[in-house]
């Protein structure tokens, strides 16, 4: 089944054609993207995900902004919002916020980095399949770009009653968002699965 392909949106069988670099193949029936040749190699993905992991640390250690309200200055970090929700016993909302804004993007990057390292060092451990499935799952639930827009809205609302100064945490959060969007744009897990099969045969 190497010379055929199947559209995963409408199940049409199509002929598999080799593409030139930066070309895309679309389904003739439903016009969905079938496959593309704009791919990042495994080592590029590894480099990007390690960069992302470093940015995750910086974004969480340093405050996003400092706020001066009623004469008191205070610093706010990324996970503080979810933490306060926990303290006020809103566990479900707190869990949802922390999962979508921190846990999912962080685990996405760390699973991806582990997968890349395992594949590049040609070690096929049983965890590899699980890790690849997790990468799939966490891409759905990582909502960094939504968080950034929400953050801007919150800052806009707050600017009426308080003075706000942006800090290093925000800069690294924005860079983290760009890095993770870049990874999601160039990530093709098929390449990873094929590499895994190839390693297993050796």
């Amino acid at each position: 089944m190497t010379n055929i392909n199947v559209c995963n949106k409408c199940d049409l069988i199509v002929e598999h054609v080799l593409l030139e670099k930066n070309k895309h193949a679309h389904c003739p029936r439903c016009n969905s993207l079938l496959y593309t040749n704009t791919l990042f190699s495994i080592s590029t993905i590894l480099a990007l995900s390690i960069t992302g992991l470093i940015l995750v640390v910086i974004a969480n250690v340093f405050p996003m902004f400092t706020i001066t309200m009623l004469g008191v200055e205070e610093a706010a970090t990324l996970i503080q919002g979810a933490w306060v929700l926990f303290e006020k016993k809103f566990y479900f909302v707190g869990l949802l916020v922390i999962f979508c804004s921190f846990v999912a993007p962080f685990l996405f990057l760390s699973c991806l980095a582990q997968v890349c390292i395992l594949l590049l060092t040609k070690r096929n451990t049983p965890q590899l399949v699980l890790l690849l499935k997790l990468v799939n799952f966490f891409t759905e639930w990582s909502m960094l770009e939504v968080y950034l827009v929400s953050f801007l809205i919150a800052v806009f609302k707050l600017s009426d009653i308080a003075d706000i100064e942006f800090q290093l945490g925000l800069l690294s959060f924005v860079s983290l968002m760009f890095i993770s969007s870049l990874i999601m744009y160039g990530l093709n897990l098929e390449l990873f699965w094929q590499k895994m099969e190839k390693n297993a045969k050796r």
């Binding site: 409408c10 049409l12 069988i13 706010a76 306060v84 479900f92 949802l96 099969e197």
Partner: protein, 207 residues
């Protein structure tokens, strides 16, 4: 135009490997990632309906219970999604009011009604052209995560505005219900199998 299902070819849900399914083998697993192989997501339509109906019911408390409470010099004013938006619009933040209104009221409604229309049309109750159905689904899928925005805003406001009786923001139970709406609509979109749109069409063609 040939469907893969009619040629006994299935695509693995997890690793998207193409697998030729042998009819006599029950419960076949993917040779690459060991996931169960199905032609379509099992019970996709029922699952999507279930999530959608629950989400539609949760929309009611999500919109009528207060989503946050602002305490300012001792007086507490609870805000629902709608009253919060109106307050924003009145205080010259029209742009933000529109963003919040679209993200937390229009988008969930659009997702629930849109998916219901797609399901009804698959069950032959109404007619929508297949390409338009897919377009609608793609829009729903893409816009899905943006409706969580209001919860993120509340979490930031709650964390930062915390001066006790002088000035503070507390979350309300509307936020929990709204969070459920967001999660349920995302799960509904996840459990829907777009290939069903063409299955129906295919059957009609052969008749």
């Amino acid at each position: 135009m040939q469907n893969a299902k009619d040629n006994q070819i299935a695509r693995c849900q997890e690793c998207s490997l193409l697998i030729s399914v042998e009819l006599e083998v029950k419960r076949q697993r993917c040779p690459r990632c060991f996931t169960r192989v199905h032609f379509r997501i099992p019970r996709s339509i029922q699952k999507t309906w279930a999530y959608l109906i629950t989400a539609a019911f949760m929309m009611i408390p999500a919109n009528f219970l207060p989503i946050s409470t602002l305490t300012s010099t001792g007086t507490a004013t609870p805000d629902t999604i709608m009253s919060g938006t109106i307050a924003l619009a009145k205080s010259d933040n029209l742009g933000i009011a529109i963003i919040i209104f679209v993200a937390s009221i229009l988008v969930p409604l659009f997702k629930i009604i849109g998916l219901m229309l797609i399901l009804l049309s698959i069950q032959n109750k109404i007619f929508i052209p297949p390409k338009r159905k897919l377009l609608l689904f793609n829009a729903i899928h893409w816009i899905g995560k943006w409706s969580i925005m209001d919860l993120f805003v509340i979490s930031i406001m709650v964390a930062v505005i915390n001066r006790g009786n002088l000035l503070s923001v507390d979350p309300g139970y509307g936020a929990t219900c709204f969070g459920l709406v967001v999660v349920l609509t995302i799960l509904a979109a996840e459990s829907f199998d777009t290939r069903l749109i063409w299955d129906l069409n295919h059957k009609n063609e052969r008749k």
